[in-house]
């Protein structure tokens, strides 16, 4: 047995271990942090442009000892006027991302991790040689997938593809954006972008718009919304889930998922019945609305008759799950307003079908809210030449290429590209550039896209961070972030006024990256021949100078200025006067860099040739009948025993673009669903009770197409027959803050590859939800 001596010996050694353990291993983390604090830093400010979403807000970057430490909005920038959304304010985390690529890499089978570093010159030369060969092999073999970035590099990549004799320019748009595009093309016969003049509306009807939580262009919509609410505008939100948008509304109307179009047309029906139609507008500015007789004497039903026949409130109530009384009341309020405006899905793949977009547009047309203050506007275009247009229009007398002469070009989708490649149709695509996009992650058919990418011999990614798509590439030429390079962006503000932002590099480069625009110019130069001819600039800087020239000679607009100066400019321009802050190109360039950019603050309503350029300059409302389903059947009803209706929504904090999932944003992903760092399934408590699901418990959501895990969040602000999941999680590859975080509910949707991606299945997906251990 143990005696005392042995015991004391053991005791002593034990004490030694316990006592010295911490001393040896305990590092003072305080000291590490203290050493990073610099006393009396030198301070500087620089402009930049946030490119984490299509708003392209102006940034003011604060540098301490030459390193960016905080960002805030550029107060002169007309898009954000000094404000920033969560994404913009967190954007430095992308700059300092510990998992950013250090430089160009090439896929090598036997290298560690499958990738090996490669020099820039070597990388560019490799692509150039390849391209040269591919171009010689025939047209249609080069493609690009671009994000929704609004800068020159995207356009230059498009130009490169076109120069190579291909029209495979794929913009990875959100389904809602694509539906809006398509609506504009079908109804107005033009390209462009819808802008909602929310600020001047006095009754805003949001039909599943996700206005305040899932819109990709945060700034424009939010600022307009705030102004509208401040000036006393009413707001009704219809959607399966209340969301932040619904919380800010005077009334929330819970509707079934995928019934946006039906509700919009049901309200339109009531507006006609109640005599709220804007007949002057409808007869002068639209066609296909009233019945007409053609030259042969054939009678045709107009949209009006169709609405009256098909969208009786009773049937609409059945489909949407909204009460009859509610539909009638909402329609009356909407019709009685001075400046009513309806806004459909702005993002979120849930129910953003083409029919929805057209139906909401038709509703706006019925009350004449198109191109009037507080209505749907069309973004004005800037005077810069379009670099990726199919055939360059001839320059006019002053040598500028007018932007408005843009012709309708066939749009391609990522899903189309995938199908093309997988089914081996037409010429094989041999080189694919992926720029500013992560289609494997963001597409509804990501797995198919990945499969297709694997079949393309050369896939070049320009992503500065690891993404799911990058993993499918052969070569990565990482682009510099906007903050570390000379950059630009061409967008429109919330009133559709064109804005061109320009900014010099605000911060030193943190990795061996390059401006992709420069890379494309270099590529074109090395390819030579016809391609090189179409790239007449030596560098991006030179191209920007040429752009400044175009701005100067356009004779419109002014550089950014304080709000009062801009208002003054507007007052002047309304009566045909203009006194810009510059009187030479040199001064313009200087001003561009000091203020952040140029914009044309005048906006004229009622320019119908611009809105509807074709034929008689009228909006073709009959187009809405094309994507509508032939019959109205009550939408599939969900219930806790038959399966719930899946509603997939998007959180604007969780961007699907490369590098969009910054840790600050992941942490605050949704203000409602407590869903930092995970995916949540939002359920009505009543439903959860039936399904025996607890708040915070893990649940498995499964459809016939797949299953995802999520954390249950019970909320009284969602329909009981619906389960809501959000996109933005479920990256397989990425940095430490996004790889493997959350899950991807898109995999649950049915018919993912059909419909070219933009008109997603309007039949809602039924899912089962059950609590796991």
């Amino acid at each position: 047995m143990l005696n005392r001596r042995q015991f004391l010996l053991g005791l002593g050694s034990g004490a030694m271990l316990v006592g010295f353990g911490p001393v040896v291993g305990c590092s003072r983390d305080d000291e590490r942090i203290a050493s990073t604090l610099i006393l009396e830093p030198t301070e500087a400010w620089a402009n930049s442009i946030c490119q984490l979403c299509p708003s392209a807000c102006g940034l003011r970057v604060r540098l301490a000892n030459g390193h960016p430490v905080t960002v805030t909005g550029n107060p002169l920038h007309p898009v954000n006027r000094g404000g920033l959304c969560a994404r913009g304010a967190a954007s430095l985390q992308l700059y300092y991302d510990p998992d950013r690529l250090a430089g160009p890499i090439r896929k090598v089978a036997d290298a560690v991790g499958g990738w090996a570093p490669i020099g820039w010159d070597e990388g560019i030369a490799e692509v150039a040689v390849r391209l040269k060969r591919v171009i010689a092999g025939g047209p249609g073999r080069v493609a690009v997938i671009r994000g929704d970035g609004q800068d020159i590099s995207s356009q230059l990549l498009g130009r490169l593809v076109r120069s190579a004799g291909s029209d495979w320019i794929v913009d990875s748009q959100t389904p809602a954006d694509r539906a809006a595009d398509e609506t504009l093309r079908a109804m107005h016969g033009t390209e462009g972008r819808f802008v909602y003049d929310i600020a001047n509306a006095d009754f805003l009807l949001s039909i599943d718009s996700g206005l305040l939580e899932s819109a990709s262009a945060t700034m424009t919509l939010h600022r307009g919304f705030a102004d509208m609410r401040s000036s006393g505008g009413s707001f009704v939100h219809a959607g399966p889930r209340m969301g932040v948008t619904g919380s800010k509304a005077d009334e929330w109307v819970p509707i079934r998922p995928s019934t946006v179009g039906t509700l919009a047309l049901g309200i339109a029906h009531m507006l006609i019945k109640e005599g709220y139609e804007q007949t002057t507008f409808l007869s002068a500015k639209t066609k296909g609305y009233y019945d007409w007789t053609d030259q042969l004497g054939m009678h045709h039903d107009g949209v009006r008759s169709w609405l009256l026949r098909e969208f009786s409130p009773r049937r609409v109530a059945e489909v949407t799950g909204v009460s009859l009384e509610q539909i009638i009341r909402t329609a009356r309020e909407f019709g009685a307003a001075q400046r009513p405006l309806a806004i459909g899905p702005t993002e979120g793949p849930a129910s953003a079908g083409l029919f929805d977009a057209m139906a909401v547009h038709t509703l706006n047309a019925v009350v004449g809210s198109i191109d009037v203050p507080g209505g749907v506007l069309l973004a004005g275009s800037n005077p810069l030449p379009i670099l990726d247009g199919p055939v360059e229009p001839p320059p006019d007398a002053e040598g500028t290429v007018r932007a408005d002469r843009r012709t309708l070009v066939e749009r391609r989708t990522v899903e189309e590209l995938a199908t093309w490649v997988l089914e081996g149709r037409g010429p094989t695509i041999e080189v694919l550039f992926v720029h500013d996009a992560d289609p494997v992650f963001s597409s509804t058919a990501g797995d198919k896209v990945a499969e297709a990418l694997a079949k393309i011999p050369v896939v070049v990614s320009t992503s500065p961070v690891v993404t799911d798509t990058l993993q499918a590439a052969n070569l990565v030429l990482p682009g510099s972030l906007w903050i570390e390079r000379h950059c630009d962006a061409s967008v429109a503000d919330e009133h559709g006024r064109p804005v061109v932002s320009v900014s010099a590099a605000a911060a030193p480069r943190r990795a061996d990256t390059r401006n992709i625009a420069d890379v494309v110019i270099a590529l074109a130069g090395q390819i030579g021949g016809g391609v090189a001819e179409r790239f007449g600039w030596k560098s991006y800087d030179e191209l920007v100078s040429a752009q400044s020239n175009a701005l100067y000679s356009s004779g419109v607009g002014d550089t950014f200025a304080a709000a009062e100066r801009s208002e003054w400019t507007q007052l002047l321009e309304r009566s045909g006067w203009r006194s810009p802050a510059y009187d030479s190109v040199t001064r313009l360039e200087k001003q561009l860099h000091s203020t952040g950019g140029w914009w044309d603050s005048s906006h004229a309503h009622g320019e119908w040739r611009r809105l509807a350029p074709g034929g008689d300059h009228r909006i073709d409302l009959a187009a809405v009948r094309v994507p509508a389903r032939p019959t109205l059947s009550p939408a599939t009803a969900g219930s806790h025993d038959r399966g719930l209706l899946l509603y997939v929504t998007t959180e604007q904090t969780l961007s699907v673009r490369p590098g969009g999932s910054l840790p600050y944003l992941q942490d605050i992903a949704s203000p409602l669903a407590e869903m930092g760092w995970t995916n949540t399934a939002e359920l009505n408590p009543e439903t959860a009770h039936h399904l025996d699901i607890e708040h915070g418990g893990r649940v498995l959501v499964s459809s016939e197409h797949g299953e995802v895990e999520a954390r249950a969040v019970l909320s009284p602000a969602i329909r009981p027959d619906v389960v809501a999941l959000h996109t933005g999680g479920g990256r397989v590859y990425g940095g430490r803050y996004d790889a493997g975080v959350g899950s991807k509910p898109l995999e649950l949707l049915s018919g993912r590859l059909q419909d070219s991606g933009f008109a997603l299945p309007r039949d809602p997906t039924l899912v089962r939800v059950k609590q796991t251990a």
């Binding site: 408005d404 009062e564 507007q570 007052l571 321009e573 045909g576 009622g606 040739r609 611009r610």
Partner: protein, 415 residues
């Protein structure tokens, strides 16, 4: 700070100090108000013409004017929209000052009701505001497309000109002019074509159309609504000095002079000009045939003005009338008595002593000064006047300008 700024400041300070000592020494009985009046008079005189409309706009915003008054629909609605020419009739600064005097008690009431405070406005700031109001005056409110269409039809313009319709017509498709946002450019374009047009119209038997003041603006709006946007051409805001130069150098002055009593070219200072720029442009158009004839008759060299030059000239003409319209001192004397100013204010020995004496003005009275004085002392004055039983004066027509002329005449002499 640049040396220029320093010099200006030093000068201003020396000036103020000098004026102060002079007025103090000159009138040992001078009240505080008198001293202040003297100072503001000096300031006002110095700044009248240097005021800038743009600064006027930022003051208009910062001082909170914009929360009640709108300009072309932008701004508050409790006060009148200053851009609506039809609601506010005045063409000179003197008249403007008069209008301001007239409506200010009501405005104070409104402000009090709204819980707003009276922000002080310095003479310099007042002059900027005057410049802004001048600008609003000449810039005119935006046109109305529907009326424009009507105008084109009424005047049979559409017989020769199409608007955004394919096919051959006599005259050019007006859409080609859609980019010209400014009615002055239209006037100028029409002006240069006047000869050819006159001939064509005579042939077709169409009468020379006479435009009303707002017509041209409406036409522009209509044509623009038919056109694609993105193509806009503007003019630089007119410059008074350039306009003066053009007016003299290009020979306008040779016909349109004062004292030329003959029939023919009217004296542009005398005749009643329209308030607005598009009105003047319309007037130019309307009298084109007569003028062409006159030019032909007198053999004066035909002048082809560029659009910008025309804008400058028109600005010059309006500004001249706006700022330099002199009042009639005799009539002003009557105003001084009739409005009972004399009951409280003294000039020289005569007049009451409730308010400050006017000698300190020393010939520096101006619309800006009057507006400033009203803004600065008005509320106090209103109270005093209520006590004495004098009604708040209303200035009609040129009465304010006359009063200014009278004050200047009476106070200039002594010093």
């Amino acid at each position: 700070m640049t040396s220029k700024k320093v010099a200006v400041m030093v000068f201003a300070m020396a000036f103020v100090a000098g004026a102060w000592t002079v007025s103090y020494a000159g009138a040992s009985q001078a009240t505080e108000s008198e001293k202040e009046l003297a100072l503001t008079a000096e300031d006002a005189k110095r700044t009248t013409l240097t005021g800038e409309a743009e600064r006027g706009w930022s003051l208009f915003r910062d001082k909170g004017c914009v929360s009640c008054h709108a300009v072309w629909g932008q701004g508050g609605v409790s006060g009148p929209d200053l851009g609506r020419t039809r609601t506010l009739k005045h063409t000179t600064a003197g008249q403007l000052a008069g209008v301001m005097w007239n409506h200010v008690p009501r405005m104070w009431e409104r402000m009090e009701e709204g819980g707003m405070e009276l922000t002080p406005i310095s003479p310099e700031e007042m002059s900027h505001l005057f410049a802004l109001l001048l600008f609003i005056r000449y810039a005119d409110e935006p046109g109305d497309a529907d009326s424009g269409k009507k105008v084109l039809n009424e005047h049979q313009c559409t017989q020769c000109h199409s608007v955004d319709e394919p096919g051959e017509t006599v005259g050019p498709d007006l859409v080609e002019w859609a980019r010209y946002v400014n009615p002055v450019v239209w006037a100028q374009k029409m002006w240069t074509h006047a000869d050819a047009m006159k001939a064509a119209m005579d042939e077709a038997g169409i009468a020379w159309p006479e435009f009303r003041d707002s017509d041209l603006n409406d036409v522009v709006a209509y044509v623009r609504s038919r056109a694609a946007s993105g193509e806009k051409e503007y003019l630089e805001p007119g410059s008074i000095s350039r306009g003066k130069q053009v007016f003299e150098v290009r020979g306008c002055a040779s016909c349109h002079t004062a004292d030329d009593g003959e029939e023919g070219a009217p004296d542009l200072e005398r005749i009643e000009l329209p308030d607005t720029l598009s009105g003047i442009a319309a007037r130019l158009w309307n009298h084109a045939p007569r003028m062409l004839e006159e030019i032909r008759r007198t053999g004066a060299p035909a002048q082809e003005l560029q659009a910008q030059e025309m804008a400058d000239v028109i600005t010059f003409l309006i500004a001249r009338r706006y700022f330099f319209a002199e009042g009639d001192a005799e009539a002003g004397g009557k105003v001084f008595l009739e409005k009972q100013c004399v009951r409280c204010h003294a000039i020289g020995e005569s007049g009451g002593d409730v308010g400050p004496g006017f000698d300190a003005i020393a010939g520096n009275a101006s619309p800006v000064l009057m507006a400033h004085a009203m803004w600065r002392f008005g509320q106090e004055m209103l109270g005093e006047m209520a006590k004495v039983g004098v009604p708040w004066p209303r200035f009609e027509g040129n009465e304010m300008a006359d009063l200014i002329a009278f004050l200047n005449r009476e106070t200039r002499g002594e010093k």
